[in-house]
Every structure is written in C-alpha cells, then in structure tokens.
Amino acid sequence: MTDSNGDDTGGVTVHLRQGAPIPLDVSFDCHRGELLALVGPSGSGKSTVLRCIAGLNTPAEGRVACDGVEWLNTERGLNRPPQKRSIGIVFQHYALFPHLSALDNVTAAMQHLPSSQQKFRASQLMRTVNLEGLEMRRPHQLSGGQQQRVALARALAREPGILLLDEPFSSVDQTTRRKLQRELAALRSRMAHPIILVTHDVEEACMLADRICILHHGRGLQIGSPKEILNQPRHKLAAHLVGLTNVFKGEVIEHQAEGNVTRLRWLDYELEARYCPSFRTGQAVHWVIPPRYILLHQRVRPSRGERENPVHGAIEELVVLGETASVTLAIDNREDMPMSFNLPLHVVERNRLNAGDNVSVSLRGEGIHLMPPDQGDVEP
C-alpha cells in the first residue's frame, strides 16, 4: 500500500515519527482522486498527523511530499511553512474569518491569482459548494452547514495539491451531516485532489473513504479498504477500534486447501473459518466475526443453513433500537463469552425472542477471520 520509495508523483506520501509530546509512528500515502480516512478515538493523534501535513506542527522525524515536491524532510532540515505547501484545509470549527463576507473568505485564499480574477473564481467556487446567493453574508449569518461549505470553498480556493478535512462533519446536526457527506461524495467525482479526512466515526469513514488508516496512540495500526478494515482486522486492537466486539480465542486444527477452509477449535465447537494457512496447525489464535455473519436459526421453521457452524447460547440482552434489535448471546450460557449481533425487529417479534431464551445461531465461515493471538492487545 505504501510506496516504498515514497516518490510517487501523484498525491501525497507521509512518514512521521516522534516520541513526545504526542507519540507518532505512521506512514501512508494518498493518491490523486483517492480519499483516505484517518480514524481513531480522540487523543489518537489523527489531528496531529493532519497538522504535520499542513505544516502547523513539526514532528521530530518525518518526511512529507506532495506531487514529488518535498514539504518536510527532517533529515535534510527541510520544513516548509503552511504558506509554501499546496494545501487546502477545513478545520473542525471551520475557523472562518468572522469580519469578512463569505465571498471574501474565499478570495482571501486566492493570493496566487490577480485580483481581477479572484471575484470570478470565488463566485464559481460558491456555486460549486451550493452557496449561490449567500456571497455577501458574514459567517455568523450562516448556518453550521453553510459555514462548512464556505470553509470547503476557501480550502479549494488555493487550488491545492491536497485537501485536508479535520472532523468536518462533527459540528452539525445529523440531517445536515448526511447532506454534506453526500455533497462531498458528489464533489469528489468532479475533482482529482487527494483528500485526507480525519474522523472518529468509523461508519462515516467506511461510507466516504477509499482506504482507511486506523490510528491508536499516534501509531498507524492498519491501512486498508473499508471492507478489509471491517472484515479483516490485523489484530484484536484493530478489531476493537472499528467496533468489532465478537473477538474470541481459539486454536487452529487444520487447513483444508481444497475446501478453502481452516478448521478451528473454540470451546467445545469445531468451526469452519475462511482459509487462512498463515497460521500453524495447533496455534492459538484470536478470531473475530462481524455481526452480519451471524444468522439466527428460526425456531419455528428449521432450514438447511443451520449445519454451518451452529452454536448455542442464552439471550443475555435484547435491546430494541428503532427497527433493529441488538442481541447479545451468552454462548454455552457463559457470561464471559458474549456474542453480539443485530436482528430486524420483525424477526424478533416473529420468533418471540425474549431475554433469557435459548437460541441457536450459525456463524458463516466466510466471515470468521483469524488474527495473531497477542499482538495489539488493548493497552491500558
């Protein structure tokens, strides 16, 4: 994923390392037209990474290059200020200039253009972000969503080599957020900028990003497509950070290349998992299953699919959230083996499920993913 030379001509390459004040150890690149999301809990250093790219922070060691031009190279003592980096940035709280109109906020970032062209280009950008007619408003006369659009237009005004978005959807209400997210997705199809999006919201990252980089205490844990991140976490910690809670300890029994399965012992069960020969036979592993691979056996009408990895347990918790129910099973009635998944409410009602009931589920083998046993354990 990361270009080993780091000299890819399109897009940005980033390597950052430092011990203090905020520990950093992360490397990634972001190609033209790609949207990379930096995801992690608060305090994971994702905003610091963005600030290092923008030139607002300087890491102890690092290299940042965009379109073949070096912006930061601590070995060579090179550190360009933000003015000399081709960036556009949208801050979490937008940081609009309060004394300037929306249009002037945008022209303020057009130092590179002759003033005769600034107004024209800025009006074009205002149209791009759907703010036509609001050019003369001051920021305080705009709604949160409109302010975010002005910030986006200002970030694009510099015609940057890369667009940096720092939690751009976190300060607006849910409806506006969905709308702005759709607008960003639509905008992407019309421009080739690499985009780096910082967010703590895994769901948002999966919706918008081509690739996701998971950060924890400033360390890049895993980079991959949303599908990889959600279905094949590298280790227990990465699983934990994307909200996968169904992580258990098991042991590899054997690999069957012809059946494309790896057999796994877990409690008294033998499970068929996705073929994964990189683990030794007899090796202890962690395994994870995303909730959508867990299927409830209908109590009224048994079906054929039930031969696939059937396990049994008591419903420990059943919480209805709108049209969905979140179910937690205590496998084999063991409270230390909780397995969670979601069911549509009508399924719960038809099967007359209640807390305390004993039920069976199938664990779909293609969803069972093996991980090394210790690496990446949740740190204190």
């Binding site: 607002l56 933000p82 940035i89 801050f91 940081a95 200039f97 309060p98 303020a108 130092q111 590179h112």
Partner: protein, 220 residues
C-alpha cells in the same frame, strides 16, 4: 477657561496615544500568545501603575530624570536640557503611567482571537504580515480603540504624577487637571467649575463610546 492648559493636556494625550498604541499592540500580542518564563512578572510590572500611588510613581520618575541618574544624564548630554519639569519629561512619565491602560485591553482582545483563525490564514497562503494586517488587526480593533480612548482620557485626567514630574510651569507642563487645582486654591470657583464640567463631559463621552462600540461588536 485656561486654554493653554487645555492645549497642553490635549497635545500630551495625543502624543501619548500615538506613541503607546503601536508599541502596545506589539507587547500585548506577545504577552497574549507567547509563553515565556517571566510572563507573570512582566504582567505584574505592566499592571503596577494601576495600584501605585501617583506620587510614588512620580517620585521614582523624577529621580530617574535627575542629571545624576543614567537616563537623566544621557538625555542632558544629547539634548542639553533637563527632562524634569519639561514637556518631554511629562510625556515620558505619561507613557509610563498609561502602560496598563494601553496594553491590557489589547491583550484581552488578542487572547480572545482563536489560534485556529491565524492558522487558517496561513493555510490559505497568507503571509504572517498579511495575516496580521488583514485578519488579526480587524478582529482586535475594538480592543485597540478601547486602549486608545482609555489612554487619551486617562492622560487628560492624570494629576499626581504630572504635578510631581512636570511641576506647574504655565505653557510648558501645566495641564488642565492642575489648572483646576490652581483655580480651586485661588477660590476661582467659576473657572474650576467650567473646566471640571468639560473634563467630566469628555470622559463620559469617551467611556460611553467604548461601551457602545464593544456592545455592538459583540452582538454582530
């Protein structure tokens, strides 16, 4: 009405404001945004003229103006005249005792300016100078105006330090505040009343303007 005294007061106030505000902007900005070891000490020194009796301040200024002190002797060597009991000495004293009035409002204004806004300006390609003139100054202008009006009005009204440092030389160091005191001493109630009313009116209008503008700015 002691017109020469009023003229001296206005000249003194104008010069004090013109010199102190640009210097104050630089100092206030540094104190507001930089972290340094002796910061509390510097802030205490700036605030000192607020609590010090004017006579104490005046005494030390007068001592430092004397030909035997480094400052006084240096000034004498260059301009061959004494700082004490001169308009220049009075101006220097006025600059010192107005420091808190000039710096504190601007310091508050700079402190209230979010650091992210400056960073946004840099990331928009604006140089540090351009950021200062196009973004910072327009955002702290009420603080600057407050500082200027306070400095001007406070200079018009200062009595103790002026008396100690300037003496009471008509046409040179006799300000309107001292003239009022003179008139009262001479039982010239009518003159004292006219001049007092003038100072009262000016001070009220000045302070009222500040509050009005600050309130409007806040509600924008």
């Amino acid at each position: 009405m002691d017109w020469p005294a009023l003229a001296i007061s206005l000249t003194l106030a104008a010069w004090t404001t013109i010199i102190l505000i640009p210097l104050g902007i630089i100092v206030a900005r540094i104190i507001a945004w930089r972290r340094f070891i002796a910061k509390s000490l510097v802030e205490a020194l700036i605030a000192l003229p607020l609590v010090l009796p004017p006579t104490v301040l005046g005494y030390y200024l007068l001592t430092s103006f004397s030909k035997h002190s480094p400052l006084g002797s240096m000034y004498h060597a260059v301009f061959s005249q004494s700082l004490a009991f001169s308009f220049e000495g009075l101006l220097l004293a006025s600059l010192v005792f107005n420091i808190p009035f000039a710096i504190q409002p601007m310091q508050r204004a700079f402190e209230a300016l979010p650091g992210e806004i400056r960073e946004a300006a840099w990331c928009s390609g604006m140089s540090r100078w351009r950021t200062f003139f196009s973004i910072e100054l327009p955002m702290v202008w009420t603080g600057i105006l407050t500082a200027a009006v306070l400095t001007f009005a406070h200079t018009l009204g200062e009595f103790g330090v002026v008396l100690m440092v300037g003496g009471n030389i008509p046409g040179e160091t006799k300000t309107i505040a001292i003239s009022i005191y003179d008139r009262v001493q001479a039982f010239d109630d009518q003159q004292a009343a006219t001049m007092s009313a003038l100072l009262l009116m000016f001070s009220f209008i000045a302070i009222g303007t500040i509050y009005f503008l600050n309130d409007r700015f806040k509600r924008r």
